[in-house]
Symmetry: C2
Subunit: 213 residues, 2 copies
């Protein structure tokens, strides 16, 4: 399997975590999102992924995009390390938390959104930080509340689930952009627990071949 991604893309980061959790072997193919206007816009990539976004998974003759669709496909194909419990209520609550990151925080702060704000509405660098802090804060308040109710060692009880897979890359971004995390003790605790797991360590942006210091 080939995973097209970028070391700092949190959507690609999610898929890496899921693949390492399941013990899957894959080749990482870097798509540089910034260099020369972004390799994700070049024909060689857009033929695989019409959204001009990473990640893309190529599994023999199957090409898939959207990180959550990719992860759930892998979970269907390789169910042995499940990312959801069998109980359908718990599964739905876990999925909702994953989507609180994937639908409410991440897309609004995505690179192309920030680029559009700067290029079309004359935002400054400091405005970009205000913008991204605002959406991370708002999302984390809602998630912290859910973790208070449901977390154990991980987001939901003591097993790693899709909620952890989506939350940890967002927490990584929060630290990267110096968000004050002191208001979110449960989020910090869960992320720390995850980050001791080999699958999460192997998936860290700085541990990717295309990482730039």
């Amino acid at each position: 399997m080939k995973l097209y991604g970028y070391w700092r893309s949190s959507a690609a980061y999610r898929v890496r975590i899921a693949m390492h959790l399941k013990g899957l072997t894959f080749e990482s193919i870097p798509v540089h999102l910034v260099k020369e206007g972004g390799e994700q816009h070049k024909d060689a990539y857009t033929e695989l992924n019409s959204t001009h976004l990473v990640p893309t998974l190529v599994d023999e003759d199957v090409t898939l995009h959207q990180s959550i669709a990719i992860i759930e496909y892998l979970d269907d194909k390789y169910p042995s390390v499940a990312i959801y419990p069998k109980n359908i209520v718990a599964k739905a609550k876990i999925k909702a938390l994953a989507l609180d990151v994937a639908c409410e925080i991440h897309p609004v702060n995505n690179l192309r959104v920030q680029q559009y704000l700067v290029n079309n509405f004359s935002l400054q660098e400091s405005d970009k930080l205000t913008w991204s802090h605002h959406w991370m804060n708002l999302g984390f308040v809602a998630i912290e509340h859910q973790l208070k109710l449901n977390s154990g060692e991980y987001c939901f009880g003591d097993n790693i689930t899709m909620a952890d897979i989506c939350l940890v890359p967002q927490v990584y971004n929060a630290y990267r952009f110096n968000l004050d995390m002191s208001k979110f003790p449960n989020i910090c605790r869960v992320a720390e627990n995850c980050n001791r797991h080999p699958a999460f360590i192997a998936s860290l942006p700085e541990n990717q071949a295309d990482a730039q210091n």
Copy 2:
């Protein structure tokens, strides 16, 4: 079951379509997103949904948020009118298209994002339209490409799936905001086919009790 929503919320609209497709009986409880600063911010609602967003499903003692998590919970509980095929590759492609709407178009154009742009970055009404057209166009170009490859009567072949459930409310918004849809013939054709189905008709914003003319 009780569905807390708002007639014009496209996330609530998705859940209505899924519930009507499955022939489920439910009570619609309106949450006015604009009146008095928004009922979604009042304690009575945030106790059910910490994200301050609609929809919320209350199914006896189960309370769920995030439209896609709700729909997939209902699909687990009431599988008789399935929204995904059994084939895991087709399922993943359908989910990816649903997420192209739910992660890439809808969140960036959401009411609270547009309110934030106006209140914090002094955008004008015309800027809001430029903003929303930009993200709808970008998303629809990618989706139109997928429909060229995979659509039949509906987004993927001749059965209604999660892709249609997510696409149709976004197309409704596109028409509402006068987006030029002539570049997207497959999207228009599929949406028209969906909109002849009783489940989609019953779910239309203007057919809800809280619709305001």
